[in-house]
Each structure stands twice: as structure tokens, then as C-alpha cells.
């Protein structure tokens, strides 16, 4: 298993930060590059009973059982299809390894702190705790996500202790 250093995707005042961007229902999202362990194609999962829909199941990643989450289902986007472009990003969150299904991986971008704007309040009902902010590069906006906070959400229960 590759050992990427435990990284926080939180901005710590460093000048620039790299993000892996991916597509979800037409929108572009980004996660801190240091949390990404690898990217792999879609493969069949084993369903785990008594788990929510968006938890597709588990796969065998070189001898390690890794849960796979479909972010499209998690975020309530319609039509989650599984085709040759469907990609699983394997992320290291705290001490755990988790795979997330996305519509496709786009690019690695470098953003300066000034290019990242804090997330505005989206009104009641929308949970934005896992959003670091919006990053703008070449006039395109990406939604930057804090993977640890996303996975630590009560319904996920994938990170035992909330880290932040």
C-alpha cells in the first residue's frame, strides 16, 4: 500500500495548494491532492447490508477492504451511471482508506490562497461544513471539499474522532 503522508486539505496559510479536480453532475469539485492515494477504474463492489444507498459496498484493494462511496448519490444528484468513464478516487482520510465514485477526473490545479474564496452561506438546509471554499482559475469555479470533514459527517461515521 502506498503511504501518502497524512495530509490536511485545510488551508494553513501556505502560499499555494494543489487540488485534484473531478466532475460530479456537471460541476467541478476539488480535493487536496495529498489526500488522494490513487485513481482507478470502476470495478464491481460487494454490497454491505444495513448501509445507506450511497455506500455502494466494499472492494478489495490489494488485500485491503475499502468502502466505496458514490458522491453523486450522497449529494442527491440524479442519474448515477456506471460506465467506462466512471472513476473511483481512492482517498486517505485520517487513518482510513475510502474510495469515492465520481463522473470523471479532470485535472490537477494549483491555487494561491487569494484565489480561494470562503463558501457563502447557502441558506438553511444546505450543509456546507465540508466545503473549504470556491477556487477560481481561468474563470472557472471549482468547489473545494474538505475530505476529512465530509467523511466525519454523522451519517458517514467513517472517521471516528472529528479531527477539527
Amino acid at each position: 500500500m502506498s503511504t501518502s503522508p497524512p495530509a490536511s486539505s485545510v488551508l494553513d496559510g501556505a502560499d499555494t495548494q494543489q487540488f485534484l479536480t473531478f466532475k460530479l453532475a456537471g460541476e467541478e469539485y476539488g480535493v487536496g491532492i495529498l489526500t488522494v492515494q490513487e485513481i482507478r477504474g470502476w470495478s464491481r463492489v460487494t454490497k454491505v447490508p444495513h448501509t445507506p444507498d450511497w455506500l455502494l459496498g466494499v472492494i478489495n484493494l490489494r488485500g485491503v477492504v475499502v468502502p466505496i462511496i458514490d458522491l453523486r448519490l450522497k449529494f442527491n444528484f440524479a442519474n448515477a451511471e456506471y460506465n467506462e468513464f466512471t472513476v473511483v478516487i481512492i482517498l486517505t482520510v485520517a487513518t482510513r482508506v475510502v474510495g469515492v465514485v465520481v463522473d470523471g477526473v479532470s485535472d490537477v490545479i494549483t491555487l494561491a490562497a487569494a484565489q480561494i474564496k470562503p463558501a457563502p452561506s447557502l441558506g438553511t438546509g444546505a450543509d456546507t461544513r465540508h466545503i473549504i471554499g470556491f477556487g477560481t482559475l481561468d474563470e472557472r469555479m471549482r468547489i473545494l471539499m474538505d475530505v476529512e470533514k465530509l467523511m466525519a459527517g454523522a451519517d458517514m461515521g467513517l472517521v471516528d474522532e472529528a479531527i477539527h
Partner: protein, 694 residues
């Protein structure tokens, strides 16, 4: 340039704890009346090496305390003081104190100085008594040479000419030349001259480097081995020559008579009893040699490395079976060759997997070793006379299993001491020996390890158990309970909490906890007892937690692994044996029992091939003595699977014990049968499970 010693701390602690274990074992043998010079030597060596190590790492409190201990041990070793129970007791407590000090140091906590000081005072007091006894040795030692001389020793001045040039690191390794010389002087009259040729100028001198050498003349008829023994600790790091005074010929003859004077174990063995009886020599030398071999042939490897290795091997096994599956449909001459090569690969893989598994195995003595002390201490406190018999302590078990059976076994042994073995007078009145016996017995049986705890005490009082169970409403009066069932009542939760049957248990933690711990390991516990004659508790444990014999069962598109240990039988259902129960649910009549039916597809909410009980199969599974019928579509192959935790990256899921990789690389989930059964456990169902009186 100073060396960073902290990197060696962990090794020192680890080795010290092991050494303390062996010291304790030796002390317990001593207390059992086996006064043996080799045992005292063992204890002394432990103290000495811990002192040396502690001094090297500047753990001054440990070193200082151990020094006092060592002084006392030295007196025991040289026979200046007799081994008395009181001394053994203090030594045992000193061992505990050293362990506590080392633990505190290891965790960078404060040492309990008051306790240590108290113990130290006790040691001092014992040695203080020595005032008279210490004077005795020189008197006692004197006649021995005299007698030997009378027995026809060589005519020349008896004695040894010793040249002792320590290596430069001698002091750093905790050896003290002065102590060596002092010890020599206890053997006979000593004339010492210093050779200071290597001493450099004051400006370049390093106080930690030993540059002096000594010429020592030791007068008296003294055993060569005794002399050599004094240098035992320094032997490897000094130039040492020991020559008989007045004639090489006799010296040669003398050393020829000594079996391998240079080999440390043999020398120790020979010195073990300087003036003692001959017949004891050979076995001791043998055992010393054996220990030396056992120590020499092993290395320390961290458990993570082994697990990594195990993981890689597991992956190889999967890759290999993928290859086999790919090769199966091929045709032609080469395909046959490929298949036979793959078959060979499979055999090698299995062998490799087994070898790696064995690396994780440790002898059960790691757990058994704590019992002599426990039995001794508790027996003494309760005023009972108890003998502990241990057999099969070389039986090997997975390290993880070993770590987890320690506490349940301690509980069982304590129970046996506390409630099993009677007081000496009661035993005698019952026509038994005054000494009670508790035996621990471990052996292999069909892929499992069996551990038995047996006592020849009073046995369980079935009438009392039944009475208590009735009071608590665990059973009803209507049914006649079998003996086994009555005995098993002591495992019921809450049974042994409050004012319980005094003959059985009564301590805070109940037998239900013991059983739960054993069950969590995939083990099984049984109890046998004959009133007045004692009880036996038999624990069956899997060899390893990493591998499981599994039965693959299919429901719809999903494949699950059912641990074979929990499967009683698998049957096809007939209509007339199924009854619907009011309020939902179905039960199935199996001989005289009514078992609840658990439909796996509805439990896990998946689409099955069959929903009609008649079309699928019913697996009767058992845990905690309770059974249910598990309804599945189809049974597939049986195979050994490597257990992977779901919790590593995910979380615990109800009904699942873990996951594993199948031959095609897919993940299959392992069912948690005890968990599933507990879920289906309600008071009504419990009622249905009690057997009907025929």
C-alpha cells in the same frame, strides 16, 4: 562524539521484562524447595544484566536497587546465605518492584520511590543479619581446600596465576574489575599487582575506558571452573589467562578434565555445584546447552512486518487462484502443462502460507507462565495448599489468540483456587490429599487447540446452581434439565453477580464474561464436574484468528462466508416441519427442538432466488448453545479464508464479522453468527428452545 542510546531503550526494556519473567520462574522453583546453584545463577544473571543495562542507560534508580539485590543474590550464590522462604518472598517482590520501576521508566513516569526504599530496607535488613553469617564463609570455605589438599592434590604450591587484561569497553558494559577481584578474594588468598602500561597522560584519559590490567595470584586449592566463573561476565571482552602455579603439566591435565572450559554454559553447569554430588551434572549441562540453542536461533521481528508478509502471501494466493480459473477453460497440450504447473504453484503457495502463519505462533507457555506465581500467592493468602501441574505448554497458538485468552484463563484458575480447592482440613476429612492440584493442559485436536483447567476440588454443587437459577427465573421448574444444561447455567449473564453459590464463583466478573471472551475468539467453552471430585473446564480455541474455515453460501447475487465451526448441519426443509408463529416469524422443528428461521435475504435486504423455504437450504447454526436455521439459496464450496477487518477502513456492521477475498479477487462478507443469533433472541424464543420432556 556521544552515541544516542535512546534507540536501544525499547530493546532493553523488552529484554529486561523477559529476563524478569525467567527470574520469577526460577524463584518459584526455588520456593518449591528446589535449591539449585544453577537456578540461583539464572536469577543472578538477570539481576546483573539489568543492572548493567540500567547503568548504561543511566536509569540510576533501577541500577541502584538492582545492585542491592545483586549483592544479596551473590551471597546466596556463593553459599554465604541459605535460601529461606522469607528471602524468596522478598526476591519475588523485588522482581515486581524492578518491573514496576522499568515500566515507569519506560513510560517516563515517576518511580514509586517509597515502595522501593521500603523493599530496599528489607533487603538491607536481611543482609544485615548476615553480620554473623557473612563472617562464616571464610571459615566455611577454608576447610574445603584443606580437605581437597588432603585428598591428594599436586604437591606444588596450590593456586592460580591469573593475567587479566580487560578490554577498553569493560567499564561501559557495566563490569567492575574491582568486584571481580573482590570475588576472587572470597575464593582464597589473593596477591594483586596492577599493570598500568596502557595508562596515557592525564589530558587524554577517558574515565570510561579501562586501561589497567592485573596480575593476580590466587592461593589455595580452588576449582578452575570456580575461578573461571568469576570472570564469566568479562570473559568475552578481556584477555584472560589462568595458569596453575607451579607446573604447566598439571594445568593441562586439569583443563582437559574440564569439559570445554571456554564454553560458558558448560562451565556454568560444572560450577553449579562446586562440591556437590556428581550425578546432577550431566542433565544440568544439557539443559543449559539447550537454552543456549533456543536463544541463539531466533530473531526479533515486529508483528507488523509479519502481518505485511501475511498480506502479501494472501494476495499471492488470490492471484494464483485467478490464474487457475483463467487456465481452466483452455484446451490443448500446452494448456494441460499450464494447469499442472499451476497446480504445483498452488501447493507451494499453501506451504508458504502455512509457514508464514507459523511465524505468528507462540507457545502457550507465554500465558501459562504467569500461573505458578498466581497459584502460589493466592494459595498462600487463602491458606490452601495447591500444586500446579502444567502440561503441553509448548503447544503453539497465534499471538493474537494468546493475548486474549490470558484473562479468561486467569479468571478460571482463580475460580479453581478460590472455590474449587478446599481448605487442607476439609480435604483430609474428605479422604483426599492435603495438597490440592490444579492442572493446566494444552493440546492440539483437529485444527483446534484445547486448553483444560482441572482441579481436584469440591466440584460444582448442581443442586445449588439449580436452586439459584430457579430463583433468578433462568429456568422453570417444569422441565427436567440435563446435567450439562445445569452446569452451563453458570455461564448465564448475571448468574454469578451477587450472593451466589459460594462453591462456584462469587467474584465481580462472571463466567458469562469468560464465555463471551472465548466466543469472541471463535472458541468454545465446556464444563465438566463431579461433585466431591473436582471440575474441568475445557476451552477449544482456533489455531489462529487470521484464517477461518468457511462455508460459502449464496443468496441472490451475493456470496457470504459462514464459519464452519458454527454450522451444525444443513438440511432441506419439508413443509410439515415449518410452523408459523403468531406475530410473525417462523419456526422449524428439528427433532425435539423448535428453531427460529432467519431468512438471510430479509435480514440483509437483498433479492434472493428463492423465497419459499422449500426451494432453498436451511443451515442450522449454533452459538452460545443456541441455534437458529439460516435460510440461504445455495451452498457453494468450503474454503479457508483470510479474515480481513471491515473496521480498518469502515465500521462494524450488524451481522458481519469481517470480510475476505474470494478466489476471483472479490470481497465476500463473513457472517457473525453469534451476533445474528443474539438478534433473534427474545424471551419467547428462548422458551421455544428449551427441550420438551419427551
Amino acid at each position: 562524539m556521544s552515541l544516542d542510546l535512546t534507540q536501544f531503550h525499547e530493546i532493553f526494556f523488552e529484554e529486561s521484562f523477559e529476563a524478569l519473567d525467567s527470574m520469577e520462574a526460577a524463584l518459584l522453583k526455588l520456593s518449591a524447595g528446589e535449591v539449585d546453584a544453577e537456578l540461583i545463577n539464572t536469577i543472578f544473571r538477570v539481576a546483573h544484566s539489568i543492572k548493567g543495562g540500567a547503568a548504561t542507560f543511566a536509569f540510576t534508580e533501577v541500577a541502584a536497587f538492582t545492585h542491592v539485590l545483586e549483592t544479596l543474590l551473590d551471597q546466596l550464590r556463593s553459599g554465604k546465605r541459605q535460601v529461606r522462604p522469607e528471602i524468596v518472598d522478598v526476591l519475588l517482590r523485588s522482581g515486581d518492584a524492578m518491573r514496576a520501576m522499568l515500566l515507569a521508566t519506560q513510560h517516563k513516569e515517576a518511580i514509586d520511590s517509597a515502595g522501593v526504599a521500603k523493599l530496599r530496607a528489607e533487603l538491607d535488613r536481611i543482609m544485615g543479619e548476615a553480620g554473623t553469617a557473612a563472617a562464616a564463609p571464610s571459615v566455611a570455605a577454608a576447610p574445603a581446600p584443606a580437605a581437597a589438599a588432603k585428598a591428594g592434590a599436586p604437591a606444588a604450591t596450590p593456586g592460580w596465576r591469573i593475567q587479566f587484561i580487560p578490554g577498553v569497553d569493560l567499564l561501559r558494559h557495566g563490569n567492575d574489575p574491582l568486584r571481580i577481584i573482590r570475588e576472587l578474594s572470597s575464593l582464597g588468598k589473593v596477591r594483586v599487582s596492577v599493570d598500568a602500561a596502557r595508562v596515557t597522560s592525564l589530558s587524554t584519559i577517558d574515565p570510561e575506558v579501562c586501561v589497567l590490567g592485573w596480575k593476580i595470584e590466587l592461593l589455595g586449592e580452588i576449582d578452575r571452573a570456580a575461578v573461571q566463573n568469576v570472570f564469566e561476565w568479562a570473559e568475552t571482552e578481556c584477555e584472560l589467562s589462568i595458569e596453575r602455579m607451579g607446573g604447566e603439566a598439571t594445568a593441562a591435565a586439569q583443563s582437559a578434565a574440564m569439559p570445554a572450559p571456554t564454553s560458558t554454559p558448560a562451565t556454568e553447569a560444572a560450577t553449579a555445584a562446586p562440591h556437590a554430588d556428581e550425578p546432577q551434572h550431566p542433565p544440568r549441562a544439557e539443559s543449559a546447552a539447550r537454552t543456549a540453542n533456543a536463544d541463539g536461533g531466533s530473531i526479533r521481528v515486529s508483528i507488523e512486518k509479519i502481518d505485511e508478509l501475511l498480506n502479501s502471501v494472501g494476495e499471492l494466493v488470490i492471484t494464483q487462484s485467478v490464474l487457475s480459473q483463467l487456465a481452466a477453460p483452455l484446451e490443448g497440450r500446452e494448456a494441460g502443462e499450464l494447469r499442472s504447473a499451476l497446480a504445483q504453484l498452488e501447493r507451494h503457495m499453501r506451504a508458504l502460507q502455512e509457514s508464514v502463519m507459523r511465524v505468528r505462533m507462540l507457545p502457550i507457555s507465554f500465558v501459562f507462565n504467569r500461573f505458578p506465581r498466581l497459584v502460589r500467592d493466592l494459595g498462600q493468602r487463602l491458606g490452601k495448599k495447591i500444586e500446579l501441574k502444567v502440561t503441553g505448554d509448548s503447544t503453539e497458538l497465534d499471538k493474537t489468540v494468546l493475548e486474549k485468552i490470558g484473562d479468561p484463563l486467569v479468571h478460571l484458575v482463580r475460580n479453581s483456587i478460590d472455590h474449587g480447592i478446599e481448605m487442607p482440613d476439609v480435604r483430609v476429612a474428605a479422604g483426599k490429599t492435603e495438597h490440592g492440584t490444579i492442572s493446566l493442559h494444552a493440546y492440539h485436536k483437529g485444527g483446534n487447540v484445547i486448553v483444560e483447567v482441572t482441579d481436584d476440588g469440591g466440584g460444582l454443587r448442581k443442586d445449588k446452581i439449580l436452586k439459584k437459577a430457579l430463583e433468578r427465573g433462568l429456568v422453570t421448574n417444569e422441565v427436567e434439565l440435563s446435567e450439562e444444561r445445569i452446569l452451563n447455567l453458570i455461564f448465564a449473564p448475571g448468574f454469578s453477580t451477587a450472593d451466589v453459590v459460594s462453591d462456584v464463583s462469587g467474584r465481580g466478573v462472571g463466567m458469562d464474561v469468560v464465555r463471551r471472551n472465548i466466543n469472541e475468539l471463535g472458541g468454545h467453552i465446556q464444563i465438566f464436574s463431579t461433585q466431591g471430585q473436582g471440575s474441568t473446564i475445557r476451552i477449544r480455541l482456533p489455531l489462529t484468528l487470521a484464517i477461518l474455515d468457511g462455508q460459502l453460501a449464496r443468496v441472490g447475487k451475493e456470496v457470504y462466508v459462514v464459519p464452519i465451526v458454527s454450522i451444525v448441519e444443513t438440511i432441506q426443509v419439508t413443509r410439515e416441519r415449518v410452523n408459523a408463529v403468531a406475530g410473525g416469524g417462523q419456526v422449524f422443528r428439528l427433532r425435539d427442538d423448535y428453531l427460529p428461521i432467519v431468512r438471510l435475504h430479509s435480514l440483509f435486504d437483498i433479492d434472493p432466488d428463492h423465497t419459499d423455504l422449500l426451494d432453498g437450504l436451511l443451515m442450522i447454526v449454533e452459538a452460545d448453545g443456541k441455534r437458529v436455521g439460516l435460510f440461504v439459496d445455495e451452498l457453494m464450496s468450503q474454503q479457508q479464508v483470510v479474515i480481513k477487518s471491515l473496521e480498518t477502513n469502515f465500521k462494524q456492521v450488524m451481522g458481519l464479522a469481517g470480510a475476505t477475498m474470494l478466489g476471483d479477487g472479490r470481497v465476500a462478507l463473513i457472517l457473525d453468527i453469534p451476533g445474528i443469533i443474539t438478534r433473534f433472541q427474545s424471551p419467547q424464543e428462548r422458551g421455544l428452545q428449551t427441550p420438551r420432556a419427551a
